[in-house]
C-alpha cells in the first residue's frame, strides 16, 4: 500500500493506493501550526472510510510520499533560521544588489527588496579565486576563525558559504567548511559549490542562503514526521517531493532542503501528463490546477515535463531567486477566491487579490463582503449552495448577490446575472492569459492541445477556458481535485548532478567534455545502485547548457549521447542546438560557433509499474442529487440544466451541455454545446 500526501494551504490531500491497485481520495483541513496533525487526520479519515484502524492502515504502507509547503511558508512568513552569509572579501552586497531589474517602472510605492540574509549577518572571507581557478588571494584561516567567533557571539543557527569562482576551484570553500565543522559544532552549513555549482554569483549565493536557512527547520520537521509516522505504525520508506517534479529520500532532503521549496505545484504536470496520455493521446497538454487563490499552469509537450531555469520566490525582481531549475509552473493570482472590482476608469478586474480561505467569498457568510469568482458561479446557478464540497458547507446566495450588485452590477450598469457572467468571463480571460503566456507566447498553438483541469475550482470555467483557447478537448480526472497528490503517486526517484565545463564547437575539448560526462555518469550510477536499488527501471539522462558565441543565456539541450567520440558527435549536437534555438526564438545562426557551458546528468528510478488505478466509490459519499437545476449561461440566459453525479457516470456515458456534473470534491460546469463523456480511466473527457 502506498500513501501520497500533499499538504496545501487550505487542504491536506491524501491519495491512497491499496494493495489491489485501487485509489482512494481524502481531504482534511491543513493545520498550519502542526502540519503532521493534518496528515494524521487525513489518514484517520481514510481508516474510517476503509473500516480499519490508522495503525493497521499505516502498517501496510510500503511507501509514504509527502509534499509540503512547509519550507515555502517558512520563507514567506520569516520563520527560517538565523543564518549568516559568508562571501568573498570585497563583495558583501551580492544579495543586496542581486541582478538588478525591475517591473512597473513608474511605481514608486513598492520598496526595494531586502536581502535574503541581512547585511548585519554578512561576513567577508579574506580570499579570492580567479575565473581561471587560480588563487588571487589565499584563504586567511585566522580571518575565518575570527568570523566564527562572531557567529558564536551572535548565536547564528545556520551558515551559508558562497565564494566567487568556487565552481571552478572549490578549495577555499572546502577550507571554510572544514573550519566551520570543527569550530562551530552543531550548526548546519551549506557550501555553494556542493549545493549548486552554477555560474552567476547572485543565483548561487541565493540558493546557498535559502538552503542553509531551511536546514534546522526542515531537519526538525522531517525528523518529527518520521518519528510520528513510525509511532503511528508506519514502517516503510518516507519520500519527499522536490521542486524538480520527483521524490527524494526524506533524509537526503533534510541535507538539501531547498529542493522542497515550491515542490507543491510541481506534481500537477506529472499527473497531467498521465491523464493526457490515458484520456486524450494529445502531444501537448496544458495542465491547470485551480485553487482558491492561485491558478497554476504548465505545459507538457511530447510527454516532457517543462523545466524553468529561473524560479523566484515571490515576484520576479522583488522576491528571491531559487537558483535551481524547477518544474516550470506559472502561477497567477486567480482562483475561486479572486475578487472582482471596478476601477476609476470603469474597467472591470478580477483578482489578483483573493478573499482566501478567511474570510472567503461573500457567500461563505464569514464576513467577506467583496464578490469573488465563487460568488459569481453561485449566482449563475453553477454551484449548488447545498452541495458545496459534497455538502460540507452551506453557501449563502443572498450575500453573493448583494456583493456582486454593489461592486460590479451597479458601477457597470449590468443586471445581476450579466455582472456575474462578466466576472466569470474575465476570470476566464485571466486564466487564458496565463496559459497563453506558456503557449502562444512560446510559439506553441494551444489549438492542438488538450487541457487538463485539476484543483477543486477547476470545474467552474475550464470548459470556457478550453473553448476560448480552441483546445482539442478538456480532461477532468476523477482524482483532479487532488491532482498534486495523484502526481506524487506517479513520480520517480531522482537525483540531479551538475558541473561547469566551458568549450566551443570550433576547438572542442573532447577530453575535457568526456571527463565531465564520465564523472556525472559515475555519480548517477552510484545513485542508482544506492537509493535507487530495487527500482522497477532506471535511466540516466545527460543535458548540456549551450548558446551561440557571445550569447549569455543558455538553452538546455538534451544530449543524445553520453560521450563525444568524433567531430560528427559535435556536429550532431550543434545541429540539435540550432533546431531548438529556432523553435524557441524564430531564428538560427549557422555562421556562429556554439558554446557549451554547464553539463548536467539526471538519474531517474521508476518506483512503480503497472497501470494507475481507478478511484473507488466510497460508501460514505453516497447521496441523491436533484435531476435538474436552473443555471445561467452567457448568450443563452437561464436554462434548465441537467445534473449528474460524477462517480455514477459509466465509462462511455455521455452528457451534453448545459449540464452540471457534481462530485464531493468539485463541480464541473458543462457549457451549452459541449459534450462530456466518462472515459475508461474514470476522467471526464469534454469536447467543445
Amino acid at each position: 500500500m502506498r500513501f501520497a500526501v500533499d499538504t496545501g494551504g487550505t487542504f491536506t490531500d491524501l491519495v491512497l493506493e491499496d494493495n489491489r491497485g485501487r485509489l482512494h481520495m481524502f481531504k482534511a483541513p491543513t493545520t498550519p501550526q502542526d502540519p503532521v496533525e493534518g496528515i494524521l487526520a487525513a489518514i484517520e479519515s481514510a481508516a474510517v472510510a476503509l473500516s480499519t484502524s490508522t495503525e493497521d492502515l499505516l502498517a501496510q504502507g510500503e511507501l509514504f510520499i509527502h509534499g509540503t509547503t512547509h519550507a515555502t511558508n517558512a520563507i514567506v512568513t520569516g520563520g527560517t533560521a538565523k543564518t549568516a552569509f559568508l562571501t568573498t572579501k570585497g563583495h558583501p552586497d551580492i544579495l543586496v544588489l542581486r541582478e538588478g531589474g525591475r517591473m512597473e517602472p513608474f511605481n514608486f510605492l513598492v520598496p526595494f527588496p531586502k536581502p535574503y540574509i541581512p547585511r548585519a549577518l554578512t561576513y567577508e572571507v579574506p580570499e579570492r579565486m580567479g575565473a581561471d581557478g587560480g588563487v588571487y588571494e589565499p584563504l586567511d584561516e585566522a580571518g575565518v576563525l575570527g568570523i566564527i567567533e562572531e557567529l558564536k557571539e551572535k548565536e547564528v543557527e545556520a551558515v551559508a558559504v558562497s565564494l566567487l569562482w568556487s565552481t571552478v576551484n572549490p578549495a577555499h570553500e572546502i577550507g571554510v567548511g572544514r573550519l566551520l565543522k570543527k569550530h562551530l559544532k552543531g550548526v548546519p552549513y551549506t557550501l555553494s559549490h556542493v549545493l549548486n555549482p552554477i555560474l552567476r554569483e547572485y543565483r548561487r549565493a541565493s540558493s546557498t542562503c535559502i538552503d542553509a536557512s531551511l536546514k534546522p527547520l526542515m531537519s526538525r520537521y522531517i525528523g518529527g514526521l518520521q518519528e510520528r509516522l513510525k509511532a503511528a505504525g508506519f514502517g516503510g520508506r518516507l519520500l519527499m517531493l522536490t521542486s524538480k517534479g520527483g521524490v527524494m529520500d526524506a533524509g537526503e532532503l533534510a541535507e538539501a532542503p531547498i529542493h522542497s521549496v515550491g515542490s507543491g505545484p510541481s506534481m500537477a504536470p506529472i499527473a497531467g501528463r498521465h491523464f493526457s496520455r490515458a484520456d486524450a493521446r494529445a502531444a501537448t497538454a496544458i495542465v491547470a490546477d485551480t485553487g482558491g487563490t492561485t491558478y497554476d499552469v504548465s505545459l507538457v509537450r511530447r510527454g516532457e515535463i517543462p523545466m524553468s531555469p529561473e524560479t523566484w520566490l515571490g515576484q520576479r525582481y522583488r522576491g528571491h531567486i531559487l537558483g535551481f531549475p524547477s518544474v516550470d509552473v506559472k502561477s497567477i493570482g486567480a482562483g475561486g477566491g479572486s475578487i472582482a472590482w471596478v476601477d476609476e476608469g470603469g474597467l472591470l478586474h478580477v483578482g489578483p487579490q483573493s478573499a482566501g480561505a478567511e474570510p472567503g467569498p461573500a457567500c461563505y457568510g464569514r464576513g467577506g463582503a467583496r464578490p469573488t469568482l465563487t460568488d459569481a458561479s453561485l449566482v449563475l446557478g453553477h454551484i449548488d449552495p447545498d452541495y458545496f464540497l459534497g455538502g460540507a458547507m452551506t453557501l449563502k446566495p443572498a450575500e453573493a448577490e448583494k456583493a456582486i450588485t454593489r461592486d460590479v452590477g451597479e458601477p457597470l450598469g449590468l443586471s445581476l446575472q450579466e455582472a456575474a457572467s462578466a466576472i466569470l468571463r474575465l476570470a476566464t480571460e485571466n486564466m487564458v492569459g496565463a496559459i497563453e503566456e506558456i503557449t502562444i507566447h512560446q510559439g506553441i498553438d494551444p489549438r492542438g492541445a488538450v487541457l487538463i483541469g485539476g484543483g477543486g475550482a477547476a470545474g467552474l470555467n475550464s470548459v470556457a477556458i478550453a473553448k476560448r483557447l480552441g483546445c482539442q478537448g478538456l480532461v477532468i480526472p476523477e482524482v483532479g481535485a487532488a491532482l498534486s497528490a495523484a502526481g506524487a503517486m506517479m513520480s520517480d526517484l531522482h537525483a540531479d548532478y551538475r558541473s561547469m565545463f566551458f568549450t566551443v564547437t570550433d576547438r572542442f575539448d573532447f577530453k575535457g567534455a568526456n571527463a565531465t560526462l564520465r564523472t556525472l555518469g559515475d555519480r548517477c550510477r552510484a545513485f542508482i545502485k544506492g537509493p535507487g536499488k530495487g527500482a522497477v527501471e532506471s535511466a540516466t539522462e545527460f543535458y548540456v547548457e549551450a548558446r551561440y558565441k557571445h550569447q549569455i543565456w543558455e538553452i538546455d539541450l538534451g544530449l543524445p549521447i553520453n560521450r563525444f567520440r568524433s567531430k560528427k558527435d559535435v556536429e550532431r549536437t550543434r545541429a540539435a542546438f540550432d533546431e531548438v534555438h529556432e523553435e524557441v526564438f524564430a531564428f538560427r545562426d549557422p555562421s556562429s560557433e556554439v558554446e557549451f557551458v554547464g553539463w548536467r546528468a539526471v538519474a531517474r528510478c521508476k518506483l512503480r509499474k503497472g497501470r494507475f488505478g481507478r478511484l473507488v466509490r466510497e460508501a460514505i459519499h453516497e447521496t441523491t442529487l436533484p435531476k435538474r437545476r436552473e443555471a445561467y449561461f452567457a448568450g443563452k440566459g437561464l436554462v434548465n440544466a441537467r445534473v449528474a453525479a460524477f462517480d455514477s457516470m459509466k465509462a462511455g456515458e455521455a452528457m451534453r451541455g448545459p449540464a452540471i456534473i457534481e462530485s464531493p470534491f468539485t463541480t464541473v460546469v458543462i457549457d451549452p454545446g459541449a459534450r462530456a463523456e466518462r472515459t475508461r480511466s474514470g476522467s471526464l473527457f469534454i469536447t467543445l
Partner: protein
C-alpha cells in the same frame, strides 16, 4: 484638449469592457514576447546582461499603443516620431520590409539605440500597425570605442553611423549591402551582426503576433480598440491629475562641465504647472541655453520623454503610458535649445542619459514642491567609470577584440514621496529596468578582474525617505593586456539634490589606481588605457533624500544602523536618533535631539 473631447463625444463605444481588457493584454504580450526573444538571443552584454532595450507597438496613425516593460527613456516620446518618419521617407511600405532607424534628427533617442521598425501589413497590402525593437548597441561606429561621445563637437566628430529610416530587409531578406557596410564600420562586427539578427527575430515575432490578432479579431476591431484604449487611458490620467493640487514650481538642475560646455556646466530649468480643473500638466523646457558643441544635447524624443518620465514618476502608477494619457501632458521645447531643440549636425550622442536625467530629476522634484508626498528627489546622475565602455584585445582568447558597456555598479535611486529609493535605479530614464552585471560573467567574458564591489555606509541621501547610497567598485585588466575604459561622468560637482529638506545624494568620484596603490583623480569625461596592475576606482552617485531626515521614523533609523547603512554617529547627527551600544534607541535623547533639529 478640446480636440480630444470632441473626438470622444463623436465616438460611440463599440467594444465591450471584456474585449477591451483582453486586447490590452494581448498587445502587452506582443511586446513582452519580443523583449524575451531579444534578451535570450542578444550577443552583446549591453543586451543580454544589462537588458538595455525596448519593444513597442504603434498604431497606423503613429500613436504609441504600448511599450510594456520598456525602458521609459526609450519609448514614451519618439515611438510616434520614428514611425512617422518611416512613413514619410518610405510611402510604399510592403509586407516583409524592415527598417533600421537610429537618427536623433528623425525622432530616435540617440545613435547608439538602433531601432528595427517593422510595418505590419495585412493581406491586402495595407499598413495596420508598426512594431519596433530598440536596442542599445555595444558599438555604433563612433570615432572612439564608446557609444557615448560626450565631448564630440558635432555628429562628424562623433562618427556614429546615422541611419534615418533605412530599408534593411525586403521580402524578409537582408539587404546585404547594408550588412557589409556595417561590418566595415562597427567594432566587433560578429557581435553587432548577432545583435542585429536577434533584433530582427524579435521584431518578426511581434509582426507575426499582430498579424494573428488581425486575423482573429479583424483590423477594424483592433483600431477601435486602440481608440477606446486611448480614451480609457486618458480617463485614468484625468482622474490621476485631479488627485493633485493645482500649482506650479520652477526647479533647476546642472550637468557638470565637459569639453564643449561653459565652465559652469549645463544649467537646466524646468517650469511645471499642474491644472487640477483642466486636468492638464505642462512642462516648459524653453528657458534653457542653446545647443552646445558637445555630445550631451538632447534629441527631441529624449527631451520630451525626460519631462514625461518626471510626470509619470509623480502620478498614480496605474495610468497606462500611451498616446491617450499623453494628451494631458504638454511639453514645450524651444527651437535651437540644448533641451530638445538642436538640429543636424549637433551631436546627441549621449542624449538618453546625462542631460535627460537633468530634465527628469527637476520635474519630479517640482511635483514635490507643489505637494509634499508626491514626486521624488533627484536621481543620481551617471555614468561613473563603473559603468564605462571597456575594450581591447583578450590575451586569454587569441587576442580577439572585445568591446562592451559595463553595468557594474550604479545605484542612484531617489527618495520618493512615500518610499525609500529603489536602490538600483541606474538613472532616472532607466527606472531600474536594466540588469546589473554579474562579477563572474564579466570576468569570464572579458579580461578584467573586479576586486571590489560594495555599497558605502553614510552616503545615502538622508531624508524622511532616503536616496540610494553610493557604491564603490574597483577593476582592472588581467591576462597581461591593456584595458581601455571610456566614460562620461556627471555628478562629481553637482550631486543629486534632495527635496523638502532632504539632503543631497553622494557625488561621484573616479580615480586611476596605479600599480603601487596611489590614486589619481580622473576627469568627468575620460578615455584611459589601464596597464596591467592598474585599476579604476569608482564611486557612483547616490540619490537625494525626500523630506527632513529628523522626520524619518525612528525604527527605520535604528534598522539602518543595525544593517550598517549608516553609523551611529550619522544616526545622531543627521537623523537625531540616539542608538546605544546594544543597538537600542534611547527615546528620551532622541526626542530632545529631534526637537532641536526641527528648530523647535
Amino acid at each position: 484638449m478640446a480636440r480630444a473631447k470632441t473626438r470622444r463625444a463623436k465616438q460611440k463605444t463599440k467594444l465591450d469592457p471584456i474585449t477591451l481588457a483582453v486586447l490590452h493584454k494581448r498587445f502587452d504580450a506582443v511586446t513582452t514576447k519580443m523583449a524575451n526573444t531579444l534578451l535570450r538571443t542578444g550577443r552583446s552584454g549591453v543586451l543580454n546582461l544589462a537588458r538595455d532595450f525596448s519593444t513597442s507597438v504603434v498604431t497606423r496613425e503613429c500613436e504609441l499603443l504600448t511599450g510594456a516593460e520598456s525602458l521609459p527613456i526609450h519609448h514614451l516620446s519618439g515611438a510616434d516620431l520614428m514611425a512617422r518618419s518611416m512613413m514619410d521617407l518610405h510611402p510604399n511600405l510592403k509586407r516583409g520590409d524592415a527598417y533600421l532607424h537610429n537618427s536623433p534628427y528623425h525622432g530616435c533617442s540617440h545613435p547608439a539605440d538602433h531601432t528595427i521598425l517593422v510595418p505590419v501589413i495585412d493581406k491586402r497590402g495595407e499598413h495596420q500597425f508598426t512594431v519596433w525593437v530598440k536596442a542599445h548597441q555595444a558599438d555604433c561606429g563612433c570615432s572612439q570605442p564608446t557609444t557615448y561621445m560626450g565631448h564630440a563637437r558635432d555628429v562628424y566628430e562623433e562618427g556614429a553611423l546615422i541611419f534615418p529610416p533605412t530599408k534593411v530587409q525586403e521580402n524578409y531578406e537582408d539587404n546585404e549591402d547594408f550588412i557589409n557596410f556595417c561590418r566595415m564600420r562597427i567594432r566587433v562586427p560578429e557581435q553587432w551582426y548577432g545583435d542585429y539578427l536577434a533584433m530582427i527575430g524579435a521584431a518578426r515575432i511581434g509582426e507575426r503576433e499582430v498579424l494573428a490578432m488581425g486575423d482573429e479579431y479583424g483590423w477594424e476591431t483592433l483600431h477601435d480598440f486602440s481608440k477606446e484604449w486611448f480614451d480609457y487611458s486618458e480617463k485614468l490620467m484625468i482622474s490621476a491629475i485631479r488627485k493633485l493640487l493645482t500649482g506650479e514650481a520652477t526647479t533647476h538642475s546642472t550637468h557638470d562641465p565637459v569639453p564643449g560646455t561653459p565652465e559652469e556646466g549645463i544649467p537646466i530649468t524646468v517650469h511645471v504647472r499642474i491644472d487640477n480643473k483642466k486636468a492638464a500638466i505642462e512642462v516648459d523646457l524653453r528657458d534653457n541655453p542653446d545647443a552646445m558643441p558637445c555630445g550631451l544635447n538632447l534629441s527631441e524624443a529624449c527631451a520630451r520623454t525626460g519631462a514625461m518620465i518626471g510626470v509619470f514618476n509623480s502620478i498614480d502608477d496605474i495610468v497606462p503610458t500611451n498616446a491617450g494619457s499623453f494628451r494631458r501632458i504638454n511639453v514645450l521645447i524651444r527651437d535651437g535649445s540644448v533641451a530638445g531643440g538642436g538640429k543636424h549636425p549637433t551631436s546627441m550622442s549621449v542624449a538618453t542619459t546625462n542631460l535627460a536625467d537633468r530634465v527628469t530629476s527637476p520635474v519630479q522634484r517640482a511635483f514635490s514642491k507643489i505637494q509634499d508626498g508626491i514626486g521624488l528627489a533627484e536621481c543620481g546622475p551617471i555614468f561613473p567609470a563603473s559603468m564605462g565602455v571597456i575594450s581591447g584585445f583578450d590575451p586569454r582568447n587569441n587576442n580577439e577584440p572585445f568591446v562592451n558597456h559595463l553595468f557594474l555598479m550604479v545605484t542612484g535611486g531617489a527618495g520618493a514621496g512615500k518610499t525609500d529609493a529603489w536602490l538600483t535605479i541606474l538613472h532616472a530614464g532607466n527606472a531600474g529596468m536594466c540588469f546589473v552585471d554579474s562579477i563572474e560573467l564579466d570576468e569570464l567574458h572579458f579580461p578584467i578582474y573586479i576586486k571590489t564591489r560594495r555599497l558605502m555606509p553614510d552616503t545615502e541621501g538622508a531624508g524622511r525617505t532616503i536616496g540610494a547610497p553610493s557604491g564603490y567598485c574597483e577593476y582592472g585588466p588581467v591576462g597581461g593586456g591593456d584595458l581601455e575604459v571610456v566614460y562620461v561622468s556627471d555628478g562629481a560637482i553637482n550631486a543629486s539634490k534632495g527635496t523638502l529638506g532632504g539632503l543631497n545624494g553622494a557625488a561621484c568620484k573616479n580615480f586611476l589606481m596605479r600599480a603601487d596603490g596611489t590614486l589619481e583623480n580622473l576627469p568627468a569625461c575620460a578615455d584611459i588605457i589601464l596597464k596591467p596592475g592598474e585599476n579604476v576606482a569608482s564611486y557612483c552617485t547616490g540619490g537625494g533624500g525626500y523630506g527632513p531626515p529628523h522626520e524619518r521614523p525612528v525604527e527605520k533609523v535604528r534598522e539602518d544602523v543595525e544593517e550598517k547603512w549608516i553609523t551611529r554617529e550619522r544616526a545622531w547627527k543627521v537623523y537625531g536618533v540616539a542608538v546605544d551600544d546594544a543597538g537600542q534607541v534611547d527615546m528620551a535623547r532622541t526626542k530632545r535631539r529631534r526637537k532641536r533639529l526641527g528648530g523647535g
